[in-house]
């Protein structure tokens, strides 16, 4: 069974009486578990709106959206919040960590909203595990301002995954990062993906798209191209080709 099944999703913004903006004009897509897909397209093509719909932040005007077997479009707001919490992990372009909140506390956040009723001990243990997974165990009590961009994005990834979601949604995850750090993030994505999690990533950089296994190109609210990547880049290998002096982490400790 597919993890995500979109059927004829349309989103229409009513701007004024005479003008409607059609952000999505009938998108049908299926994502299976273990896929790593990149959504590309120029700005205004509807890729951000699509990601918002996928993330349960925006409701489509029409169409159906099945996530992990559950129809999402018609869900009441509280249940939708639960779906966001349990089944979806978000990674944002600007990391969106809570400022003046430690790395560990940032990762604790999604579990506090979880309906399973974690205890604080469990939450802290799992947050620590999350930090270890992204290699930042020693940064637990650091504030975002004390972390480099790459480290912040790794904390954000740990936060996105801490409730063990079915899908990881990434919105321009490398938009604010230099090339080496971008590769590190892609490396993490590929590693996670190898463990079976579905990753859907929006990017406008064609090169980044080559780390995914499938590239969906959007134009004017429609999917205009949906092709598998014949030979995806392997981030860990690409990293070795970089000159050594571009290491970001070493400079800002």
């Amino acid at each position: 069974m597919p993890v995500i099944q979109l059927e004829d999703i349309r989103k229409c913004y009513h701007v004024s009486d005479t003008q409607d903006v059609h952000a999505l004009r009938g998108v049908s897509l299926v994502f299976e578990a273990g896929e790593f897909a990149a959504i590309m397209g120029p700005s205004g093509s509807g890729k951000s709106t699509l990601l918002n719909v996928l993330g349960g932040l925006d409701r489509p005007t029409s169409g159906t959206y099945h996530l992990d077997g559950e129809e999402v479009v018609a869900l009441e707001p509280d249940r939708l919040a639960a779906v966001r919490n349990e089944k979806i992990g978000f990674v944002f372009q600007n990391f969106n960590l809570l400022s003046r909140t430690t790395a560990l506390e940032n990762i604790e956040l999604p579990m506090m909203y979880n309906r399973q009723g974690f205890t604080l001990k469990e939450i802290q243990r799992r947050a620590r595990e999350g930090l270890e997974m992204v290699g930042l165990a020693d940064r637990a009590s650091h504030y975002p301002s004390q972390l480099s961009g790459g480290q912040q994005q790794r904390v954000a990834i740990a936060r996105a995954l801490v409730n063990r979601p079915a899908v990881l949604l990434a919105d321009e995850p490398s938009g604010n990062l230099d090339s080496r750090t971008t590769l590190e993030i892609m490396e993490i994505f590929q590693r996670l993906n190898a463990q079976g999690i579905l990753i859907v990533m929006v990017t406008h950089e064609p090169e980044i798209g080559q780390y995914a296994h499938r590239v969906i190109t959007m134009r004017d609210g429609r999917v205009c191209k949906d092709v598998p990547v014949a030979e995806p880049f392997v981030a860990s290998r690409e990293k070795e080709r970089l000159p050594a002096d571009t290491r970001e982490d070493a400079s800002d400790e």
């Binding site: 400022s99 003046r100 506090m112 909203y113 604080l120």
Partner: protein
């Protein structure tokens, strides 16, 4: 999100802006502190008044010039010159229920002794005054009828005078000067403490009223006549007889109002209680207003905080927060702010009222019910003024919020 995490999240959020949080609570701190302080002062004053009623003297009736009304317009004693020494003597001589009557005249004068001086109140009284006030002498003697008749320059002084001018040494036989006029000290009064109005009663110089009229005050009329009635049961009769006598002496027609007021000690105390009650009420109202202002301060900061944390709200929603989680979070933050303010305010109020009570020598009365009310009120302030910003936060569109810079 369960209550425990809600608390934790709110505490963390407030800690992130610790200084701002503390300043935000200041309004509530001052409001609650003021409420506690005023109420406890009111309590203390009332207790004090009740104690003073008995200390005022035994079965005392006071006659004031002019008409004084209870709870209404109050023409203070001494503003109208209607009471004479002869009135006092007539009261004493002609009314059988009256044991003694002392015409009183007060002046504020600088008193010199050697190279020291002290600004004090000089009271002209009759020889019976100490008996009327039930005020014992510590040493020496009170001036007698003879001293009064001859307007001798003798004085009986209070403890404050002994402390300030004589540094505790025995003043009897010493001579002080008031505007160059010598006064021989013949007696020292026992310690009396604070009066109804909060003045130190020990800061006093008693001299014969005749001496006061002739050499000190420049007045011709009594400011008050202190009258002692022989029995508690005869108070109202005596009051009536004094009224009749003075109306007759002042030749007042039946249609004319009294140009004097006769009050018993209970009535005087009642006036004082009433005054302190009104003062407490007024101060309490001001305190309540400052609590309100404190609440508005909290609302203001919460609104700023909601705008400032727009992105945070977006992130929380994306991570699975329900609208009601967001609403509760900001509400709990506001309530927490006002509660912290309430607790600090109560502690501050306790310290303030303790200090004030000690200064005034009052019994300390901590108003526990007022504390409870003030705390409850500050929680209410938090809920009331926190709700609007919290609702604003909860209604935010997460997509817009995430895009917010």
């Amino acid at each position: 999100m369960n209550k425990y995490f809600l608390m934790l999240v709110a505490v963390r959020a407030l800690r992130r802006n610790a200084m701002r949080s503390l300043l935000t609570t200041l309004g509530v701190v001052i409001g609650v502190g003021a409420v506690i302080t005023t109420v406890s002062i009111g309590h203390g004053a009332r207790v004090q008044v009740e104690e003073q009623v008995n200390r005022l003297g035994q079965n005392v009736v006071l006659v004031f010039p002019g008409s004084r009304t209870l709870g209404g317009v109050n023409i203070g004693g001494g503003t109208v010159n209607t009471l004479t020494v002869e009135d006092a003597l007539a009261i004493q001589d002609e009314i059988p229920e009256v044991v003694a009557a002392s015409p009183e005249v007060r002046s504020q004068r600088l008193i010199n002794y050697g190279n020291r001086n002290w600004f004090s109140r000089i009271y002209g009284q009759s020889a019976d005054y100490l008996q009327i006030r039930q005020w014992p002498l510590e040493s020496g003697r009170m001036f007698d009828e003879e001293d009064v008749v001859r307007a001798r320059k003798v004085a009986v002084v209070g403890q404050t005078i002994v402390e300030e001018l004589f540094e505790g040494m025995d003043p009897i036989g010493e001579v002080v000067r008031v505007r160059g006029m010598p006064l021989e000290i013949i007696g020292v009064l026992g310690r009396k403490g604070m009066s109804l109005m909060g003045s130190v009663q020990d800061d006093i110089v008693l001299i014969p009223y005749s001496t006061a009229f002739r050499y000190v005050s420049g007045r011709t009329h009594a400011m008050v006549i202190n009258v002692q009635v022989f029995d508690q049961g005869a108070m109202s009769v005596a009051q009536q007889k004094i009224t009749d006598l003075l109306r007759e002496r002042h030749r007042l027609g039946p249609e004319q109002d009294n140009d004097f007021t006769v009050q018993t000690q209970e009535e005087v105390a009642q006036t004082a209680t009433e005054t302190s009650r009104i003062m407490t009420f007024l101060l309490g109202a001001i305190a309540g207003v400052s609590l309100l202002v404190g609440g508005i301060g909290i609302m203001n900061i919460m609104l700023v905080s909601v705008t400032e944390r727009t992105r945070e709200i977006g992130v929380r929603v994306a991570l699975g927060a329900r609208n009601r989680d967001i609403l509760r979070q900001f509400l709990v933050e506001a309530i927490l702010l006002s509660c912290i303010g309430g607790v600090i305010g109560i502690l501050g109020g306790m310290v303030c009222s303790e200090i004030l009570a000690r200064q005034a020598g009052w019994p300390i009365q901590l108003p526990y019910t007022a504390m409870l009310y003030a705390f409850g009120f500050s929680v209410g302030v938090g809920v009331f003024f926190g709700y609007y910003p919290a609702r604003k936060a909860a209604r935010m569109d997460p997509i817009e919020a995430l895009r917010h810079e």
